[in-house]
């Protein structure tokens, strides 16, 4: 396995570090992978409007782990990744993991530099991606700033939970295609990449605004309020087998239980316990699919003393009983 750890400042820096790690040269912003790492390249482009893009197109020869430690400058990376042929991959954002096994993936998501992040993929994985580095100032200039704080914070509060990941749509896929296979005869070389990348950025933020319906947030939450809810959420999810009481949480948030309940719902879109239960059942699903635990063991691990309660809660979330899920997965009818 190749393991590359770094502290990001920008894509140029990231790629230089990787080139040094695998003992290869970066030429005109492009790192062609040495054969022991894989087949393909990563390339960064400085766009005229001040954004930076990292374009990747490669398949891995061996397992590859990238570890990024958080930084205190507020930068964001928009990721548009198409992954195929992977046995396993995961992305950790702080302590949160999104993991996929054996299925193809085409997703867009936004990450902040303010979090630690790890990315792992098994050898053989084929990876096409376009990533865009965006500063907070830049976002402020292009998106209406008074709404930006709310939407962005709320989005990041959702971290790697499936809600915030966007499947790559037809339009983005065509744009990625044009970026990965550029029209070399274009007379406006610099604008060619920028225009397509900007359309991807527009696409994503349009979706994000729609999803996190700005109007609904006009209730004027401050960034501090949202940060407070992020803290509450962390405490809530610290132990998946046991939820704290509302009273305990309201002490931590330093607000009344009724205000807490309302704000939590505004940020996370559902009441506190419903949210807890939803994530608990997602965890149950993941544990069962790992395949080395019994239903009983999973139920106990998640704090259920009564297994039929567990089964019912599971069915409510996933529409099938745990036992049915296992049967289906043995028959190979499940992709995820």
């Amino acid at each position: 396995m190749i393991r590359y750890s770094y502290a990001i400042t920008d894509f140029r820096n990231f790629l230089q570090g990787l080139a040094a790690k695998v003992d290869a040269d970066m030429i005109e912003g492009k790192l062609v992978f040495p054969s022991f790492l894989g087949n393909g390249y990563m390339q960064f482009i400085d766009l005229p409007n001040g954004l930076q893009a990292l374009i990747s197109d490669f398949s891995l020869e061996q397992d590859f782990l990238i570890e990024r430690s958080k930084s205190d400058t507020e930068f964001y990376v928009l990721n548009c990744d198409i992954v195929t042929n992977s046995r396993k991959l995961y992305i950790d954002v702080d302590n949160d993991r999104m993991e996929r096994k054996g299925d193809d993936l085409a997703v867009m998501y936004l990450l902040s530099f303010l979090s630690d992040m790890n990315q792992f993929a098994t050898g053989g994985t084929k990876f096409s991606s376009v990533r865009v580095l965006i500063s907070r100032d830049w976002l402020g200039q292009y998106l209406k700033i008074e709404q930006l704080d709310q939407v962005l914070q709320r989005y990041l509060a959702l971290k790697s939970k499936s809600v915030h990941i966007r499947e790559i749509d037809y339009e983005t896929r065509s744009l990625m295609n044009e970026i990965l296979n550029p029209d070399t005869s274009s007379p406006v070389g610099a604008a060619y990449f920028q225009n397509r990348i900007m359309m991807m950025v527009e696409n994503f933020f349009t979706w994000m605004y729609d999803q996190l319906s700005v109007t609904e947030l006009q209730i004027r939450m401050t960034r501090e309020d949202i940060d407070q809810m992020i803290k509450v959420e962390e405490v809530l999810m610290k132990d998946i087998s046991h939820a704290p009481t509302i009273k305990e949480l309201s002490v931590i948030a330093a607000m009344s239980p009724s205000k807490l309940k309302k704000q939590f719902k505004d940020v996370y879109g559902m009441p506190i316990y419903e949210y807890f239960q939803k994530l608990r059942m997602q965890k149950a699903h993941d544990l069962l699919m790992e395949g080395n635990r019994t239903i009983k063991a999973v139920g106990i691990e998640l704090g259920f003393s009564n297994l039929s309660n567990f089964s019912l809660a599971f069915k409510k979330e996933h529409r099938v009983l745990p036992s049915e899920l296992l049967k289906m997965s043995q028959l190979g009818r499940i992709d995820k």
Binding site: Y170, M198, F205, Y209
Partner: protein, 328 residues
């Protein structure tokens, strides 16, 4: 007749002076004409990337005579104009005169502040204009094109004789429509406008470079070009109705069938029906991606009685079914 002389190198200061001259108070960066003056507005803005932009949609009740004087500071002005001409619309560039005949002129062209330009527009003309102004440094940074670039120089030298404009086809028009139709309250307004403008600029330069080796276009008479603009406009005007046949088009516009076919292909790059169908499908894609319509609604609005015909035509063009675009 209203007369206005100017030599500004950014549209906001130009708009400011225009408002003074018209005796109208600006609202922010927008000038709204009074009911006596006509309908519409002129909006100026500076995009975050440094472009100066003017956007206007208007139909005026008075004759206007506009004179852009030579400015020794070199700026480029890219025009995307759709003008519905009622009686008279004339441009004089560097003393070379073009009088555009009714009913429509829709073209893109690049001018510079090095030659002067007079525009005379008679009352009652309706127009949608998008103008971008930039200097050589901007062009070099954002487009990678230098001011002494050979294709650009050749283009501009013809332009100084008031020749050489690029008819706007449906691909341009879709971007133009987006700019005029985006909700001003949209939080992404600046991004959407800038992206469309940049795509228009890319399209324009891609086209003139592609055409730079093709001298056949120079053999077209002005009359031919205006006639083709009219034909194109009527062809893609309404996809809900079945299009005229080539014979009907030729008859209506008083041109021979084979000449129509040949010239249309030279200017718009495709045979008449391929062009019609391509932009019908582009329109379908656009409507589907907006997320506001079902596949059924889009198909019917584009004149398909049979949705599976629509789906297979769509798939032929884009390699995906209409339903795949509505999911996201």
């Amino acid at each position: 007749m209203f007369e206005f002389d100017f030599d500004h190198t950014d549209f906001r200061s130009l708009l400011h002076d225009l408002a003074l001259q018209l005796g109208v108070e600006l609202q922010g960066d927008t000038l709204y004409f009074t009911p006596e003056q006509g309908e519409g507005y002129v909006h100026a803005l500076n995009l975050p990337n440094g472009l100066s932009i003017l956007i206007s949609s208007n139909c005026l009740e008075f004759d206007a005579y506009l004179h852009r004087r030579v400015n020794p500071e070199l700026f480029y002005i890219l025009n995307f104009d759709e003008i519905y001409i009622k009686s008279q619309y004339t441009e004089i560039i560097n003393r070379n005169k073009s009088q555009y005949p009714p009913p429509v002129y829709s073209g893109a062209c690049l001018n510079t502040t090095f030659f002067d330009k007079i525009t005379f527009s008679a009352k009652g003309n309706g127009m949608r204009l998008i103008r971008c102004m930039f200097n050589a440094a901007w062009m070099s940074k954002f487009l990678g094109i230098q001011k002494n670039d050979e294709v650009l120089m050749r283009y501009l030298s013809l332009r100084a004789r008031n020749l050489n404009f690029e008819p706007m086809d449906a691909e341009y028009r879709m971007l133009v429509n987006d700019i005029f139709n985006t909700d001003p309250e949209n939080p992404l307004l600046a991004t959407i406008t800038e992206n469309r403008i940049m795509l228009l600029i890319e399209l324009f330069f891609t086209r003139i470079y592609k055409r730079s080796g093709d001298l056949r276009l120079l053999k077209f008479s002005e009359k031919d070009i205006y006639r083709l603009m009219e034909i194109e406009n009527s062809l893609v005007h309404d996809f809900g109705k079945p299009p005229l046949t080539v014979e009907e088009l030729a008859d209506k516009h008083e041109i021979g069938v084979s000449k129509l076919k040949r010239q249309f292909k030279q200017i718009y790059g495709k045979p008449v029906y391929e062009y019609y169908q391509k932009y019908r499908m582009e329109k379908a894609k656009h409507l589907l991606l907006s997320g506001q319509f079902t596949v059924k609604e889009v198909g019917y609005s584009l004149g398909y009685q049979n949705l599976s015909n629509f789906a297979s035509a769509f798939k032929k063009e884009f390699g995906a079914l209409p339903s795949e675009l509505t999911k996201s």
